[in-house]
């Protein structure tokens, strides 16, 4: 984990998203897929906390060596400010943060399921998996054409790809869940990775449980600091021995988790206070990788 001022090399609009490339050799060197950055906001504004972005690309070799790319989905004042930054401005960056995806040792057929900007981390993962001689297939989805992240890049990286949008403006109409079963069968999937909205991840977790598929998912929970100080970005995760569950910080113990161990109903409950504790019969889970 390094902290420093990083110069913006370039910014690009990608549909609904902004992609920002930084010169940050110390962070790029260490970055793994699934890890993220904490970017400081400008002083003198109402919004204070750092914003957190998953790493889309970290180049260690070649002409882009030492650069780092992340993707901003401008939905609030902080992300909108970042979307308007320009080349040669400087950002205060801490990273790489969190535990990234791990790679399977024996299993080879990997299915990567991405929704919206979740694809940013999974394309990085795909490259690393391919470098380890794994087969990569993908399902990439979004609400609209604009919110499907770099579909061409997805096609380039995967053996087979299924693109879906909620309004049918690109690929098939539907959600990533609609094609999940088919794709897993067709690609003889052995390992599943996903980065999507929490409700979709919950369904994916159920799918993986039914099929006994080892999986890793990248979750997004609202963070305060991003480096473990404040205990706000917690996710309920069952202990390995089934003796109960703990609130783990997604910034240091995640953001990548084994979906079989996340207590989804507890995490995503509409009425969290009414959920009784502790739960009965927690799942006993073999450790990753399967």
């Amino acid at each position: 984990m390094k902290r420093g001022r990083a110069e913006i090399l370039s910014t690009r609009r990608l549909g609904a998203y902004h992609s920002i490339t930084l010169v940050a050799p110390e962070i790029a060197e260490r970055a793994r897929p699934g890890q993220f950055l904490a970017i400081q906001m400008p002083e003198g504004r109402e919004f204070l906390l750092r914003r957190h972005f998953v790493i889309h690309q970290a180049s260690r070799r070649g002409g882009w060596a030492g650069t780092l790319e992340f993707v901003v989905d401008p939905t609030g004042p902080g992300t909108a400010w970042l979307g308007n930054t320009r080349a040669h401005e400087f950002l205060d960056v801490i990273g790489p943060l969190g535990k990234g995806f791990s790679y399977p040792k024996r299993l080879t057929n990997c299915l990567l399921v991405a929704e919206g900007h979740g694809a940013a981390s999974l394309y990085f993962l795909a490259q690393e998996l391919i470098a380890r001689h794994k087969r990569v297939d993908m399902i990439v989805g979004g609400d609209t054409l604009e919110r499907v992240f770099k579909p061409v890049e997805g096609k380039r990286l995967s053996q087979t790809i299924e693109i879906v949008t909620a309004d049918g403006s690109l690929g098939d109409r539907g959600s990533v869940l609609d094609v999940l079963g088919d794709m897993a069968d067709r690609c003889s999937t052995e390992v599943l990775y996903a980065a999507a909205s929490p409700p979709t991840l919950e369904r994916i977790a159920a799918f993986c449980r039914d099929r006994q598929l080892p999986a890793q998912v990248a979750i997004e929970e609202r963070m305060g600091c991003g480096f473990g100080l404040c205990f706000t970005c917690v996710v309920p995760v069952a202990r390995k021995d089934g003796s109960g569950y703990d609130h783990l910080r997604s910034c240091v113990d995640g953001p990548v988790f084994n979906p079989a161990r996340v207590l989804w109903d507890r995490w995503l409950s509409d009425a969290p206070i009414m959920v009784p504790t502790p739960p009965e019969g927690l799942p006993v889970v073999r450790s990753w990788p399967g």
Partner: protein, 318 residues
């Protein structure tokens, strides 16, 4: 630089610190996260997150949100309980090369007493901060320390047992803050931490839901600075001999200077640490710059230098 460092040292009546800038409770993780982001030896003291007798899983998420010039949060005091804390976290904190103040909290007198007894003699413990803003499980009140007699009972019991200085962190909702401060100091508190975060809430009109999983939480950040200044000013005039740690809204050297002028002996940096882990060091640097520029010899010389109109020397407001 050696001269500047020496001039920042403060003496909180027996508790010596290298600088008067600490990390506030709940902003220092578990003792391992700050390494690599800041040189902890340059922080005056670290206050740990509040520790309870039994492990606490804490509140549901979302636990944090932004408000104008502040954050609202509610962790539900997630912590592993005192036994696990003493076995794993305190030894890590003890290696930070700075004074460690352990924050304790609970809902019953027994909890505070047992926490204090378990902390005695532990290596690395410089002081105890007693957080009094949890619900009172015995008297069934929302904020335990908001009531004078209860605050005196709890702080008095902790102070009588403790071998290290005890700082009482007073709740922001006290009806008569000065009276509460006088009471807990008379009961044996070595010093005071002013103030604990006030209760707060946010509402999301889009989803028709509260912004926090716990519905209500606490307000922190720059928005609190004027509230902290007032509390420090009034209590310091009533209790000039009692070390006061100002917390709430300190994020720059200038803020620290203002707190010391109002009567604080040291400051704690909370929210700013979450944004910039080196903030306590930057605050100390800014303070050192001010002292040098204005030719003050030490932070203690700032205390009570605020020029107030004649007539304000009288009895202080609540």
């Amino acid at each position: 630089m050696a001269g500047v460092k020496r001039s920042l040292a403060v003496d909180l009546v027996g508790l010596g610190l290298s600088t008067p800038v600490m990390i506030a409770s709940g902003c220092a993780g578990t003792g391992r996260e700050l390494a690599g982001l800041v040189d902890t030896r340059r922080i005056g003291a670290i206050v740990t997150r509040s520790i309870t007798l039994r492990p606490r899983r804490g509140d549901p998420t979302p636990r944090i949100g932004e408000t104008p010039s502040g954050i609202i949060w509610s962790t539900g005091m997630q912590n592993p309980g005192i036994e696990s804390f003493l076995a794993e976290e305190l030894p890590r904190f003890a290696k930070a090369g700075t004074a460690i103040i352990v924050s304790i909290t609970g809902g019953t007198l027994e909890e505070y007493v047992r926490l204090t007894s378990l902390l005695q003699g532990k290596p690395g413990l410089a002081a105890i901060e007693v957080r009094l803003s949890e619900p009172d499980d015995e008297l069934d009140r929302p904020i335990l320390g908001a009531h004078l007699e209860r605050a005196i009972e709890i702080v008095g019991a902790v102070a009588r047992m403790s071998l290290v200085p005890v700082f009482a962190k007073l709740p922001a909702v006290a009806t008569d803050l000065v009276e509460l401060a006088r009471g807990v100091v008379r009961a044996g508190a070595h010093g005071l931490t002013l103030l604990d975060a006030p209760l707060a809430m946010s509402v999301d009109a889009e989803t028709l839901r509260p912004g926090l999983g716990a519905v209500t939480g606490w307000l922190s950040g720059p928005a609190l600075k004027p509230v902290t200044l007032r509390a420090v000013f009034d209590v310091a005039r009533a209790l000039p001999e009692t070390p006061i740690l100002a917390v709430g809204g300190v994020r720059s050297g200038e803020d620290a200077v203002e707190m010391l002028l109002a009567g604080a002996w040291a400051v704690q940096v909370g929210t700013a640490t979450l944004i910039d882990p080196a903030a306590p060091v930057e605050v100390a640097r800014g303070l050192a710059g001010y002292l040098k520029e204005k030719r003050f010899g030490s932070p203690a010389e700032l205390r009570g230098r605020l020029r107030v109109p004649a007539g304000l020397e009288g009895p202080v407001r609540a």
